[in-house]
Symmetry: C2
Subunit: 109 residues, 2 copies
């Protein structure tokens, strides 16, 4: 059961194209900060901040190897977000099913 605050953090982290791109990259394997920053037309500092947002959401873990910080992907919060989304979809579908049932009953009278 993901807390509301955890979902807030996760969704917020996903609500930015730079951060989604970083995650995409990390889903394929670890990387250092500089490597992650390379594709982007912004300061290393800005990317560093984006990484911190991803860390706050626990989507990214940091390990230090000398002066290099090595980032890795943690899918767990993504799972929790997916569960929330799936649940709403289920409620929605259940409602449509009930509506359909009701219409069918109506037909039979």
């Amino acid at each position: 059961m993901p807390s509301a605050a955890q979902l807030d953090d996760t969704m917020l982290a996903l609500a930015d194209p730079t951060r989604r791109a970083i995650l995409k990259r990390l889903a394929r394997g670890e990387a250092r900060v500089t490597e992650l920053a390379a594709p982007f037309d912004m300061t290393l500092n800005a990317v560093s901040k984006h990484i911190r947002v991803l860390e706050r959401a626990r989507l990214v873990n940091r390990r230090r190897d000398g002066r290099e910080h090595i980032l890795s992907f943690n899918p767990k919060p993504l799972d929790e977000a997916a569960v929330w989304i799936e649940r709403q979809r289920n409620f929605w579908n259940a409602r449509l099913d009930a509506l359909e049932r009701a219409l069918r009953e109506d037909d039979e009278t």
Copy 2:
């Protein structure tokens, strides 16, 4: 193929507990603005703004009936968000599978 901007809007809309609660309510059926606002300890105006954010993300549709605005749930952007999340998870799992295969091959030598 959801545009980056569409995903931005969707994720941002989901990154707030009030808006998630509103969506949850709407997944069970339409409601008016006042009805949606009732459970929350904030101004009707604030809720009205949250609804606008949900509309911008196309998660909510508005229909007018006299002076009442009737809001309904649109699951489409939720589907697109789920697809994005699922895709990252797949990349991640593929990577783990490859790692496992590599380890197994190593065993056989």
